[in-house]
Amino acid sequence: MELTLNLDKIQSDNVSKYAKTILDKQNPYKNFKIENYKYAQLHRDITSETLLRDIDISELLRISKNISSLTSNPVDLASDLNLWKYKNDDSFFRVSSLLKRDTSSINLDLIDDKNLFLDISQINENIHFFKSSKNVINLIIMNSKANDEYPKSIFFDISNNSNLNVIHFNISNYKSFLYFESNLQDNSHLNFVSFQSDNIHTRNEFYASLNLECNFDLFGLNINNYGVNDNYSFIQHLKPSSSSREIFKSIVEKGAITNFQGKIYVDSIAQKTDGYQMSRSLLLDDISKANNKPELEIYADDVKCSHGSTVSKLDEDQIYYFKSRGIDSEMAKKILKKAFIAEIIESIKDDNLRDYSNNIIESLLT
């Protein structure tokens, strides 16, 4: 694949120069050796004969307010393209999405409803969310049937003492490349759950920046995919006493490739950071692949950080135990797969949304 990006709308020479450097030197669509993108295979056109299924969102729309019509407030992010706030290489997805697309903003404080729904596959722009209140909002971000090789960005600015829960359904996409950036100010909380299923070629980037005493939970679930499905996370702890907890689980089969690459970065002044990262993959056959690459980069000396990564298959002895109690092998496998991912579904705090997610996952587990 190759992206055609237009630098004309950039006024400043500085920004233009910066953008050119990123596009030339860090373009994973041209160069498959760029470290942060090394498993994503963006230089290839990954396709599949598979017809992707439709998912029924009527229940989601019943329990939430559709805010798609509110995405008309333009905001100019492209002019500050070179003000990258993260402690590593800029994301190619961020830069290219800001060059390619306009950005709309949504102030979540102006909406009274508790559960909000936004289908980003129906929107061409990047979205910039603001949240500066304590009240609990569950924001459902749907992305389905996307077939778009250009990256798209979703930004979250979460002010001091604010909370937000995000549930991302990334289901039945042909091509989808998303960049999520979450900037958490002091004492704020973000709970982010990403369900990914039935996709052919996807990559999701999760960047988060944590200030004083804030808390970021990121849970990912990747099942029943085709082709190449890639997750990348970079979580930076910039101020003391913040915590992050990240769990990614994937069940890989039918020759699919699932990748997880994640880094926790702890700044030298971010003492008392508590960071946790776990990526676990269940491989169901001999032709599928899971690449897990956990990373820690720590410059403070009084922190608690751990990471773990496993790749395994279903345990034959466990299946035998089920069968010895009369439960057939197909049922045993289904129960074991569900047990493997239960932790992710349980991380959804809202009862209705958890039930909905549970039902949809149940129907997707083959």
Binding site: D317, Q318, Y320, Y321, F322, K323, S324, R325, G326, I327, D328, S329, M331, I335, L336, K338, A339, F340, A342, E343
Partner: protein, 248 residues
């Protein structure tokens, strides 16, 4: 009920069972005793249908069916139950959910409708109380962080809820303290009837004080070397395996 004839079993080309004969009738309790490595656990796995074991020779008939032709889950649903020496831990699966799935699998196999939730809850509660199992424990993941004794009680709970025709207890007494041993044995004794048979595998005569067997067999090097009644267990306790095997 169970008829094993001239059974030869190997695993990875190593012969473990070498011509074993055993016949268990309806309502009988048989004890199988033997030293480490004599083939006791192999026999229990072969009966339950675990793969990796090669049947080189012999036949096993169960309830007029060729047992060796049935898959593991079919054997279980036909009423064969193995209480494991080392029950598996299943993280993420609630014990009560597992029990319910097992019961309903058997009912489905037998052509019955599913047990309703209330009936199941009642059954589980009464059986758990009989075994002195706290029902709170059944909300936990199956066997995860259970003590050795709790795991064994859990096996007996599964057995009493599935009410098998032929139950094999593989060293159920190992890892049990005296109180747990008594409770587990009482659980087994409650299931004894003219219709049900048991094969109790153990190293020690102590368990047989609680579960009185009709027959005692001594297994050594893959075959039964001596059979008798309960007094054989007492003789064994006195003389040890080596002397008994020699005199056989």
């Amino acid at each position: 009920m169970l008829e094993i004839k001239n059974l030869h079993v190997s695993i990875e080309e190593k012969k473990i069972i070498k011509g074993l004969n055993l016949s268990i009738n309806k309502g009988e309790v048989h004890a199988l005793m033997g030293p480490n490595g004599s083939g006791k656990s192999t026999l229990s796995y072969v009966l339950s249908g675990k793969d990796k074991y090669e049947i080189d020779e012999g036949t096993i008939e169960y309830n007029e069916k060729n047992l060796l032709e049935l898959d593991v889950d079919e054997r279980a649903n036909e009423g064969l139950f193995l209480a494991f020496q080392y029950p598996m831990e299943i993280p993420g699966v609630q014990t009560s959910f597992f029990l319910k799935t097992a019961i309903n699998s058997k009912r489905k196999y037998l052509g019955h409708s599913e047990m309703d939730a209330l009936e199941f809850a009642k059954l589980m509660k009464s059986k758990a109380e009989e075994l002195n199992i706290n029902t709170e424990m059944l909300k936990r993941d199956l066997n995860v962080n259970y003590s050795g004794g709790e795991k064994k009680k859990q096996e007996i709970l599964q057995m009493s809820m599935l009410s098998p025709k032929m139950a094999i207890l593989d060293e159920t007494d190992s890892g049990l303290d005296i109180d747990a041993l008594r409770i587990v044995s009482e659980g087994v004794n409650k299931l004894r009837s003219k219709e049900n048979s048991f094969l109790v595998i153990t190293h020690y005569q102590r368990l047989l004080n609680y579960i009185k067997p009709d027959f005692v067999h001594i297994i050594a090097d893959g075959r039964i070397v001596k059979s008798g009644d309960y007094s054989l267990a007492l003789e064994l306790e006195e003389k040890g395996y080596e002397e008994i095997s020699k005199s056989a």
